[in-house]
């Protein structure tokens, strides 16, 4: 027990470090008294400060100070009561368990279980395509006691119900950013409002402001080529061969043989000068062509390959066109929470 008190005494003043010094002089004196471990004086000065004009954070600070002092002087009911007031004034208030003694944390948690507040309303930053399944911006908050919780998004006259359920503890929701008819919400400033209705008349609400931007969804560019595939040349140059000379020889032989066979014997034997000149001309033609680079010829396999490639490309582009038509109907929503400035 003795060690626990020593530990408590060591931890409590540390708990107050790091907080902004209040403007109210009485409250500052109360904090000073707490750091000096003069708990009766803390109670007196804190109560005195609460009677003065304080801002909401200062008021919450004074109640918390009272809770600490009552805890230190072994007055749990008063401590819990003071903590309840502090929590109602500042629902997001938390104690650091590394700096605050377990006893005070226990009283603080007991206070939390006795008031209905919505704490730690967080809205993530998100960018998503409106109206697609599973997309939305995450909303998370904690309700301290069982309550019917209604979560809404509000902008001007527009109020959209996001969720309504009975909750105790932490709840994770997703807002799809769509109107009831499926259209995307209007861009601008929106409030995510969480209202909790507990037993009896108790209720509490908390909100988080977000900025919603609406933009077009990026479309996919058409393909000019299939990645990894290139068209092949549709003509190929065959290897050089003696074929042209062979053909010329064949034709010359046929003509010569024909002329010889059809020669009329009554008119004597033909001199062969004319067919000789003709044969020489044809054979020179064949010879020159044999030496010359052959003419390109269609590469049927490559033509077929290119045709299939073009068909595949056309099919892919048709799919992209269809996809783009769908994308153009969609809207990209960007949600950014607006940071609350401490007053």
């Amino acid at each position: 027990m003795r060690y626990a008190v020593i530990g408590f005494l060591l931890l409590v003043p540390v708990a107050l470090r790091g907080q902004v010094a209040p403007q109210n002089a009485t409250l500052r004196r109360a904090i000073q008294a707490y750091e000096n471990l003069d708990f009766p004086q803390v109670i007196v000065l804190s109560r005195a400060s609460l009677r003065e004009r304080l801002s909401a954070p200062e008021r919450a600070r004074a109640e918390e100070l009272l809770g600490f002092a009552f805890s230190a002087t072994n007055q749990p009911d008063s401590a819990i009561s003071a903590f309840k007031e502090a929590i109602l004034l500042d629902p997001d208030r938390q104690l650091d368990p590394r700096r605050v003694s377990p006893r005070i944390t226990g009283y603080f948690n007991a206070a939390l279980g006795q008031v209905l507040v919505v704490r730690q309303v967080k809205v993530d930053s998100a960018r998503f395509i409106s109206g697609t399944a599973g997309n939305g911006v995450a909303i998370r908050f904690t309700v301290t006691t069982p309550a019917r919780v209604r979560t809404r998004a509000i902008s001007g006259q527009t109020s959209l119900l996001i969720d309504s359920s009975i909750v105790a503890g932490t709840l994770n929701l997703k807002w799809t950013g769509t109107m009831p008819n499926g259209d995307p919400v209007a861009p601008g400033r929106w409030s995510i409002v969480v209202e909790a209705f507990g037993a009896g008349q108790s209720s509490f609400s908390a909100s988080q402001e977000v900025m919603v931007a609406v933009g077009a969804v990026d479309t996919v560019a058409h393909l000019t080529a299939l990645p990894g595939y290139t068209e092949l040349p549709e003509t190929e140059i065959p290897p050089q061969s003696g074929r042209p000379l062979g053909i010329a020889l064949l034709y010359t032989g046929a003509a010569g043989a024909g002329a010889l066979a059809l020669n009329n014997g009554d008119l004597g034997t033909t001199t062969g000068r004319e067919i000789g000149v003709a044969a020489a001309a044809a054979l020179i033609t064949g010879f020159v062509m044999t030496l010359k680079k052959p003419a390109p010829r269609p590469a049927l396999g490559n033509i077929q390959y290119n045709k299939l490639l073009r068909e595949q490309l056309a099919r892919r582009n048709a799919d992209i066109t269809q996809q783009n038509a769908q994308l153009r109907r969609q809207v990209q929503i960007t949600v950014v929470p607006i940071v609350r400035v401490a007053r």
């Binding site: 003509a255 009329n264 009554d266 000068r273 067919i275 000149v277 003709a278 033609t285």
Partner: protein
């Protein structure tokens, strides 16, 4: 002469209507000829020149050529006289398949001075097969049957035909080419049951310019 003018006019008209599928080429040739008639004693050898106009339009082609050969008798002591032969040829071709062309046309050969050799005219029907053996180079064979042959003297020709060998080489686009056109003509002319045959070998080598 009148007929030649008509053929030239038709060719000129075809050439004057350019089209994407139309090619026109004009060629000039030097010619060598061998002409025989009646028996082995009447043999002539000649040198001359010629010109050809060739129009190809889609599947159709028209070819008109004129040549003039100065023939001299092979046997200078046989008492034969030299003569000049002017030959006009016209052919209308229809491409039937790759390289395979059906041809109809007419030919007329006149001689100067008159009666120094047989003048003749005939229609022709036949085929031509050309084979592309490389970029801008072709060789081909031609076979025509000469129908309704007429002569200055009397007579008929039951068997009259010509066999040809063709070759050309030049730019792949047909802008210019060297040409060779060989024709062997055999006409088995008969007059009153007697055989008075005619035979001619004519080779023309030259250049052609395409448009």
């Amino acid at each position: 002469m009148k007929r030649a003018s008509v053929i030239a006019g038709v060719l000129a008209l075809l050439a004057s209507v350019p089209s994407a599928a139309q090619t026109v080429s004009i060629g000039l040739q030097g010619a060598l000829g061998d002409y025989r008639e009646v028996s082995s004693n009447l043999k002539y050898r000649g040198v001359g020149g010629g010109a050809t106009l060739w129009v190809h339009y889609n599947r159709f082609s028209v070819e008109g050529s004129a040549s003039r050969i100065s023939y001299d008798p092979r046997d200078q002591n046989a008492g034969l006289t030299s003569f000049k032969a002017t030959e006009l040829d016209a052919r209308l071709g229809v491409d039937l398949a790759a390289g395979f062309t059906a041809e109809v046309g007419a030919m007329k050969r006149t001689v100067d001075p008159e009666l120094s050799a047989q003048e003749m005219g005939a229609g022709r029907i036949g085929v031509r097969y050309s084979k592309l053996i490389g970029p801008g180079a072709t060789v081909g064979l031609r076979g025509n049957y000469l129908v309704g042959a007429k002569f200055t003297g009397e007579g008929t020709a039951g068997l009259a035909f010509e066999l040809g060998l063709l070759a050309s080489i030049g730019a792949p686009n047909g802008r210019y080419r060297f040409t060779m056109d060989y024709g062997f003509q055999r006409v088995d002319r008969k007059v009153s049951g007697s055989s008075v045959p005619i035979e001619q070998s004519l080779v023309k080598v030259g250049v052609a310019v395409g448009f």
